[in-house]
Symmetry: C2
Subunit: 122 residues, 2 copies
């Protein structure tokens, strides 16, 4: 019967996040479709803006810069801009961002095994 409600929406959820479920906390920072993909490419090595764009052709520039700003605000990536023209901006993982490499790595490993049918024979 669903009661009436009490608590709902992702925003309100942010409070009790860590206590009950650390994964919820993580999803606040790296949730969404694109962020792990961006982090993956940065885990391979530092990249310029245009290089990230080339590595992920399907992402639009707006969404890319949007997520890069967010990741920077969340202290997961560091933006380094050289004051030259044309601009030269490099993105790299922060210490905290590097802490996510095991997560990204585990995802990549699972994806390869799963797609190879390693789990399919029951």
């Amino acid at each position: 019967m669903a009661a009436v409600k009490e608590t709902s929406t992702i925003q309100e959820n942010k409070q009790y996040a860590l206590e009950k479920c650390p994964v919820t906390y993580a999803m606040e920072k790296i949730g969404g479709y694109w962020k792990p993909i961006i982090l993956y490419h940065l885990s391979i090595g530092d990249k310029r803006y245009s290089e990230i764009k080339k590595a992920i052709p399907a992402i639009t520039e707006k969404v890319l810069i949007q997520h890069l700003k967010q990741l920077e605000a969340d202290n997961l990536v560091i933006r380094e801009a050289l004051p030259v023209v044309p601009p030269h901006v490099t993105y790299k993982l922060s210490t905290s961002g590097k802490g996510l490499i095991p997560v990204i790595g585990a995802m990549a490993t699972w994806a390869i095994e799963e797609s190879n049918g390693m789990y399919s024979h029951l």
Copy 2:
């Protein structure tokens, strides 16, 4: 200048997924805000529908069942229904789903370290 386009949208992205970025493949299956959270609670142990709901109060029943169906279709969780009344339905990780435990575990570990400021001093 954004060219004209060529390829775009998440759907079309599914093709070249694995070759260039295994993480993209993984995101097709466990992407989104709620799925990793659900998988986390199932990684703790098998749970009935109502138990999952209690573990994640902020999720609505519609969204919960919706994701459970999707996870079942993607062969990550197994649904076991006992033909009794009132119904008794248990959800558990499949073999493939268990392969995600390292991913979920790494996320939880990172979340705890990050929230404790372990990465913040620099």
